[in-house]
Subunit: 321 residues, 2 copies
Amino acid sequence: MHSFNGLLTQFEQFFAQHSFPTSPATLYEPCSYLLNMGGKRVRPVLCLMSHELFAELNENAWNTATAIELFHNFTLMHDDIMDAAPLRRGYQTVHEKFGQSTAILSGDVMSIYAYEHLNKINTTYIHTVIELFNETAIKICEGQQLDMDFEQRPFVSMEDYIHMITLKTSVLLATSLRLGAILGGASLGCAEVLYNFGKTLGIAFQLKDDYLDAYGNTAKTGKQLGGDILSNKKTFLSAKAFEIATDEQKLILSDLLARKDANKVNDTLAFFDQLNIRQYLETEMNAYTSRAYELLEKVPVISKRKVHLQDVADMLLKRIH
Amino acid sequence: MHSFNGLLTQFEQFFAQHSFPTSPATLYEPCSYLLNMGGKRVRPVLCLMSHELFAELNENAWNTATAIELFHNFTLMHDDIMDAAPLRRGYQTVHEKFGQSTAILSGDVMSIYAYEHLNKINTTYIHTVIELFNETAIKICEGQQLDMDFEQRPFVSMEDYIHMITLKTSVLLATSLRLGAILGGASLGCAEVLYNFGKTLGIAFQLKDDYLDAYGNTAKTGKQLGGDILSNKKTFLSAKAFEIATDEQKLILSDLLARKDANKVNDTLAFFDQLNIRQYLETEMNAYTSRAYELLEKVPVISKRKVHLQDVADMLLKRIH
C-alpha cells in the first residue's frame, strides 16, 4: 500500500520507460512534449491505488494505468484544438506550437499507443478491460461533443450540465478505479462501488473547478477570475441561475451573456449573488463530496486500507487552486 | 469461396448492422454520413477473401473486417481535415459539412468503435490481431505525417516516396490479408506471404493512382488532369524527375513547381516527357504488378482457390479510373 506520492513516483518511472519512437520526430515529439508538461497523473494513480486495495501491483495494473494516462492526454491534445486553447499548464498547446494537423495526428497515434498497453493485459482480463475502457472512451467523446453543442445554446438545464460533466470528466476517474480493482481480483460488485465513488468524486471535482473559477483566489489559481463567465462557458453557476431565475431575470441574464466589456464578470457575479448561486453551489459541492465519502465507506475493505484513497479525495476536493 | 461482389454484398449487410447510437446525433451523424458515402470496401473484402482461403467465414473475420473499415474511414475523416479537402467521392467532406471540431471528434469515436469490434475476437487470437492491427495503425499515422512533412520539401527521393506510400496506403491492404489468413488458421509464414502480396499490390495501386492523375482519361476518372502537379503533391513522377534530372533540369523543375498559372500542368507534363518519366512509371508499375502476382503464386494454396484474389488484383491494377 502506497500513498499518492509514492505511487506517483513509481508511475512516473514506469511511464518514462514508455518512450515513443524517434522517427518521424514531427509526429512523436509533440506527444512527448505534452506528456512532459506534467500533470497530476490522478487517473493512473487512482487505478494503481484501487488495485492495491486487493493485490500487489503487477504488469496488468501498470499497463492499464499507462493506457489511461495516454488516452487522457490524447483527449487533451484534441480538446485543445477544438477549444482553440492557446495554453495548457502554462505551456503553448500542441496545436499552437506544432500546428493543427500535427496535433490531430499526434493525438491519433497516442490513442493507438494506449491500446498497445491494453493489449499487454493477460488473457483472463483483456476482454473485460478493453470493454470497460472503450465504453468510457466513447462517453468521453460524447461528453466533449455535448460540451461543444452546449456552446450553441444560451442556457442548459442542470440535468444536462451534470450529465455532460459526468461523461466528460467523471467517468474516466471512475473507470480508473474500477479497472484497478478488477485487475486486483475484486468482485464486479465491489469494483462498481469504487466506480460510483469515482464518478461522484469527479462531479464534486468539476463543481469545485466551477467554484474556483468564480470565487477562487486568483493569486493561488493563477487564472483570471471569471474566465468561464467571460467566455460564456456552461457551468453549474449558469445552469443554476437559468433554473431558478424568473422570466424577467432570464432576460437580464441573456443581456449579461451577450456582453463582452470589462465589467461583464463583476456584473454577472453580482447578479449570481442576488440569486444566491454561490450558496447553491457550495451546498451541491458538499452534497457530492459527502456522497463520495459515503461511497468510499461502502467499499468492502477495512478502513485502514482506504486511507490513501481518502487522501486523494481530500486533495481533489479541498484544493484551493 | 466467394467473389469480390459476393463478399461485398455480405459485408455490407454485416456492416449495416453496426449502427452508431442515435445520441448525440451531432457526434454520430457525421460517422454514418461518411460510411454511407460508399467506397469499394476493398480492405474488409480482402480480409474476408484471405480468410476464406483457409476456413469458413466466422465472427472473428467479420468483426476484424468491420474494424478495418471503421479504422480506414477514421483516417479518411482526419486526413481530409489535414489536407483541407472539400470533397470526397463527390460529397462534401465531414469537416466541410459539419465543422472541423466535429470531424476531429467523430473520427476519434469511430476509431474507438473499431477497437470495440476487435474486442469481440476470441481469446485465442485477440492479442495477435490487436498487435498487428496497432502496428499497422501506427504506420498509417507515420505515413500521413511523412506525407505532410514532404509538402514542406521541394523534392523527395524515390526511396522516401516509396517508403511513405508503403506506410500510408499499402500496409493496411497487406494487414487486411494477413489478419484474415491468421484468423482462418493459416501459418504465420503463409500469412506473411499474403502480407507481402498486399504490400506490393498496394504500391502498384498507388503508382497507378499517380499514373491516372497525370495520364488518365478525365472523362473516366472524373478528376482534373494533373491535380497532383497543380498542388505540388509528391508523386512517383516528381520523385523520379528529381532523381534523374541534371542540375540544370532541377532548376527548371523548381521553376515549374513555383508556378500557379493555367499552363503549369501542361508544361510540367511536357518536361516529364523530355525525361521519359511516363515510361519509367509504366516500367515500375509493371514491375510491382508482376511481383504482386508472383507473391500470390507463392501462397501455398491451390491456384483455383486464389482466383478471386487474382480478380481483385486485376480490378485494382487494370482500372482506368
